[in-house]
């Protein structure tokens, strides 16, 4: 007799999910880092776009402001021209030089420090009047001659810059010719000596840093006025026509013209972006950890499943007889197939025990359902049946007694069983059936189920009948559980018929069992357990 098949060794497959988990373990933070990088890139992009947009708007605003300032500054020479022109026109039209003082009186000492009147005779200017304080331009100097000549030639406001270490002034000359008489008025106005200008808060220039230069060059020497010491200034350059000269104004906002908030928007975006990125990265990290834990749990539970299945199979094997008797005159073979699905232990069993006088007691049975309770009931029934048999009870009596041991309502299971006694000296078999599939007899080239009364399952019936048959030499008796004949959607009888059909009528016992199992191999995963006991009488 071969022992029942040992527990199948469990192979740990290298499945893709496990491989992926290994890769993730090698780079545990890679997803968080990716989230960080992407988040920071997006933040930087938004921040830059905001900065560019702000800078563009600010530039546009400054440019508008600068044009306003330039327009305001451009008014100054027009005023000077009006004052000087009016005085010169009055004198030349009347020939009365004394009117000069009267005409310019309101303009001294502001905006003019003082003024002079020249009468141009034969192209040479001669001073004919003066007003106000000391002027910086020496009338006899070449600079004065040139200025007056230019004013006379152009008839336009002619401007020059006068600077000493202590003072800074602008000098203006304006020539008017009426009735052949040409008069030139000359005046000077002060500029801040330190070139610093403090502006009232209401001035359009109050929120601008600016520098105004005489001429086009932005040199320290040409600087007329500014409100900063931080020169040269980097800003918008606006040329302002000033008589025959040009002033150059350079302006830049001292505070953001669009307001401080607009200037900070980019930094707010940056801060919020970094914060969001950090939160997202932290969340990702947390999810990753949870996933890692879940993967570990899955691996553990998979391991547990395999272990439990191994335990179930080991226990199943242990609950079946480890050594069967091998009486002379009888060949014995068994097979046990555990259901392919689930970790629960089944309730199928077989047993064989020697009685006195060349007699052998055999049992095959099946407890309904699965699990530990089914297995323990199976164990209980198996030993009880053997005990009653050894006491000398005939098969029907054994079943009657054992049936009382089961309470279906309490145990939740019922059981079917077939037991019998085989006399190895005569080939006579007496047996009884409690709801179990019938014996199959293979004898003299025919295979057929043994027709005999079937009593109710154990736990239901209270009286069983003993049937009888006599084996011919080398005849085989097959006892089995319903896993072998159960076919979905087919009556039990058809299953038995099919079994008889596939059972070879002439083969050795082991080969016959192998053939039957091969032919009736489980078709689906949820196949029931199957036990087979084969007995061949070899007198």
């Amino acid at each position: 007799m071969e022992p029942a098949p040992a527990a199948v060794p469990v192979e740990r497959d290298e499945i893709p999910e496990i491989a992926a988990a290994h890769a993730a373990r090698r780079w545990p933070h890679r997803l968080s880092i990716a989230v960080c990088v992407v988040g920071l890139i997006v933040t930087a992009g938004l921040c830059t776009a905001s900065r560019l947009n702000y800078a563009q708007n600010e530039r546009r605003q400054v440019s508008t402001q600068a044009q306003l300032v330039a327009a305001a500054l451009a008014v100054a020479p027009v005023d000077v021209q009006r004052r000087l022109g009016r005085a010169a026109t009055l004198v030349s039209a009347t020939g009365n030089v004394s009117l000069f003082a009267g005409a310019l009186k309101p303009s001294v000492p502001a905006p003019f420090v003082g003024a002079r009147l020249f009468h141009v005779v034969d192209g040479t200017p001669q001073q004919v009047g003066s007003l106000g304080g000391q002027l910086l331009l020496d009338p006899s100097s070449a600079k004065s001659q040139q200025l007056l000549a230019k004013a006379t030639a152009t008839g336009a406001l002619t401007v020059t810059r006068l600077a000493t270490p202590k003072a800074q002034r602008l000098g203006y000359a304006m020539s008017v010719t009426t009735l052949g008489q040409t008069y030139v008025t000359y005046a000077e106005s002060t500029l801040p000596a330190d070139r610093r200008l403090e502006l009232p808060a209401t001035s359009p220039l109050s929120d601008m840093t600016f520098a105004v230069y005489f001429g086009k060059a932005q040199t320290r020497g040409a600087l007329i006025e500014t409100n900063t010491t931080d020169l040269p200034l980097d800003g918008i350059v606006e040329p302002i026509p000033f008589g025959d000269q040009v002033l150059t104004a350079v302006m830049t906002p001292s505070t953001p013209l669009l307001g401080r908030f607009a200037a900070y928007v980019a930094w707010i975006i940056a801060g919020a972006g970094v914060l969001l990125t950090a939160v997202m990265a932290a969340l990702t990290e947390r999810l990753q950890r949870r996933r890692a834990v879940a993967e570990q749990l899955a691996a553990v539970s998979g391991e547990l499943y395999r272990t439990q299945r191994g335990v179930a199979e080991t226990l199943q094997t242990a609950l079946l007889p480890q050594h069967l008797p091998r009486p002379p005159g009888l060949a014995v073979a068994t097979r046990y197939l555990a259901g392919t699905e689930g970790i629960e232990i089944g309730g199928d069993w077989y047993d064989l025990v020697n009685l006195a006088d060349d007699r052998l007691f055999f049992t095959i049975g099946d407890v309904s359902g699965r699990g530990l309770s089914a297995a323990t009931m199976m164990s209980r029934l198996r030993h009880s049946i053997t005990a009653y048999a050894v006491e000398g009870d005939d098969p029907a009596t054994v079943l009657t007694k054992v049936s009382r041991l089961i309470d279906i309502a309490r145990d939740g299971h019922f059981a079917t069983a077939l037991c019998g006694i085989l006399d190895t000296s005569s080939g006579r078999v007496t047996f009884a059936n409690a709801g179990h599939p019938p014996l199959v007899l293979v004898a003299e080239d025919t295979v057929a189920p043994v027709r005999a009364p079937i009593g109710p399952p154990l736990g239901v019936g209270s009286r069983y009948e003993t049937a009888e048959l006599t084996l011919t030499s080398r005849a085989i008796l097959l006892a089995y559980t319903d896993g072998l004949i159960e076919r979905r959607g087919e009556p039990v009888d058809d299953g038995v018929t099919h079994l008889c059909h596939v059972t070879p009528s002439s083969a050795d016992l082991e080969g016959l069992l192998d053939t039957v199992l091969t032919e009736l191999a489980p078709q689906d995963e949820s196949q029931d357990d199957t036990a087979i006991l084969g007995l061949q009488w070899t007198p």
């Binding site: 079917t416 599939p437 239901v460 979905r488």
Partner: protein, 107 residues
């Protein structure tokens, strides 16, 4: 053998003579046995005098040992269970299990 996704509809009613009728539609297997069990448990206890129960199997396409356990448990409690219109497969299962007398088929 437990069919995957087995479903069972259980209805409790009465015959005109007042006998409780449990109607089973679908498959009575391990996954659905509990609902059939609850139907039997909802019946008056046999000790109260009501022992007859008819199980209408007209719509029952499959039954396995879990189903037999439910029926046998009821019979064990004292119910006189009769099967109405079982399919030939179920009839064969009852006969092969030696339960013709315990779970008689209604005439």
């Amino acid at each position: 053998m437990d069919p995957v996704g087995a479903t069972l509809t259980v209805t409790v009613g009465h015959d005109p003579d007042g006998t409780p009728v449990i109607t089973l539609d679908g498959q009575l297997a391990l996954a659905t046995a509990a609902s059939a069990e609850r139907a039997f448990a909802s019946l008056p206890a046999p000790s109260d005098g009501v022992t007859d129960v008819v199980v209408d199997m007209t719509g029952l396409t499959f039954m396995d040992s879990s189903g037999i356990t439910v029926l046998l448990t009821a019979a064990n409690r004292g119910h006189a269970v009769r099967l109405r219109h079982p399919s030939s497969i179920i009839r064969n299962l009852i006969a092969a299990t030696g339960l013709n007398e315990t779970l008689p088929i209604e005439r």
